[in-house]
């Protein structure tokens, strides 16, 4: 009778474990966005100090420029290429791409569409300018040069 509590520690209750996990789950559901495309190439973005965050992800379309990796490298070689959505394209396809992306947005969001240019730091400007000219032709004038934040050179 006296020594009842001495038989060892009572087991820790795990009844609130689901609640804790659900909280973490909701945090991740709210603060992340779906991965939407697989990259067929690699790049290291240039660095800059005066960068701004891209506000609304749904209004942003991406153009990737870099070296193909993996099986795509065997197929296309190491020369830098442009990736739109899930396939390699040429600069001439950008007009069509912009039109398709613009169609996905609602009427009032179309003017706010931003194109994010994610290019490797060793790309030459000849290629970048080609892309920029196509964007101008497609009338997608809001662009953002993707760059990593650094504190200075």
């Amino acid at each position: 009778m006296k020594k009842k509590g001495n038989k060892g520690l009572p087991p820790i209750s795990t009844a609130s474990l689901p609640d804790v996990i659900f909280m973490i789950l909701f945090f991740f559901m709210v603060s992340t966005t779906m991965r939407d495309q697989e990259l067929h190439l690699k790049y290291s973005l240039p660095d800059a100090t005066e960068v701004q965050k891209l506000e609304k992800k749904s209004l942003v379309s991406y153009i990737h420029i870099g070296e193909p990796i993996g099986i795509w490298r065997e197929q296309y070689g190491p020369a830098p290429r442009i990736q739109l959505n899930d396939a390699f394209k040429t600069a001439q396809d950008i007009g069509q791409f912009v039109a398709a992306e613009r169609d996905k947005l609602s009427e009032q969001d179309r003017a706010l569409m931003t194109v994010c240019l994610k290019a490797d730091r060793y790309t030459t400007m000849g290629r970048i300018t080609e892309v920029k000219q196509e964007l101008r032709r497609a009338n997608a004038l809001k662009i953002s040069y993707a760059a990593g934040k650094t504190l200075g050179y």
């Binding site: 689901p18 992340t32 701004q52 965050k53 891209l54 994010c116 300018t129 809001k142 953002s144």
Partner: protein, 203 residues
């Protein structure tokens, strides 16, 4: 039997944690958290085919050409008086050009403009007409281009900060939306991007 009815069987919630874990792991794998950052720019619209080039002429004193070549060297200034600058000198050079503090006739002209502040008062500010013209060659590296874009953006941002501090005693980023729009209009981000120059035979 009444006593049996009250005893509804409890659902075993022991596996709830496992289900939650599964969902959690799914979201961890299928989503990304990184926020993209970048230098925002507005491209100029494509000029109509038949437009005369003369329409676009800006007075010579208002333009500061910045040329980046394939090796990443910077040449700043008009043809004939170009200087070779280091990347770290560029920001101050651009600021001096945009502000023209001594009203030098070789530096950009200014025009007094009146702005309506959100609180109803007026504010006159001498808006500089200077344009930084960024030129590249075909073999310029993107990294160098972004570095120069960054320095020029920094020059404009610093001027905006100074103006905001003088007028509102706050930093540009801390201003209210209406005030920020006015300062942004008073100190425009005037960086023009010309098409790359093909320095003949040096490709």
């Amino acid at each position: 039997m009444a006593t049996d009815k009250r005893k509804v069987q409890e659902i075993n919630a022991g596996s709830m944690a496992d289900i939650a874990f599964l969902l959690l792991i799914f979201f961890l794998v299928a989503t990304t958290m990184n926020v993209d950052t970048g230098i925002a720019r507005n491209l100029p619209p494509m000029p109509p085919e038949n437009q005369q080039v003369e329409d676009l002429k800006v007075r010579v004193r208002n333009v500061l050409p910045v040329l980046i070549n394939g090796r990443g060297d910077l040449f700043v200034g008009r043809a004939g008086e170009q200087e070779y600058l280091d990347i770290h000198q560029l920001k101050d050079r651009a600021k001096e050009f945009l502000l023209n503090p001594m009203d030098d006739p070789n530096l950009p002209e200014k025009e007094m403009q009146e702005f309506d502040l959100p609180d109803g008062s007026k504010w006159t500010y001498a808006v500089g007409k200077g344009v930084l013209s960024l030129q590249t060659t075909k073999d310029t590296q993107y990294q160098n281009y972004i570095m120069v874009q960054n320095e020029l953006t920094r020059a404009v941002n610093e001027i905006r900060d100074e103006v905001a501090r003088a007028k509102f005693q706050k930093k540009f980023a801390e201003l209210a939306e209406g005030e920020r729009a006015v300062v942004a209009k008073a100190v425009p981000m005037s960086i023009s991007e010309a098409e790359p120059r093909d320095l003949a035979g040096r490709n």
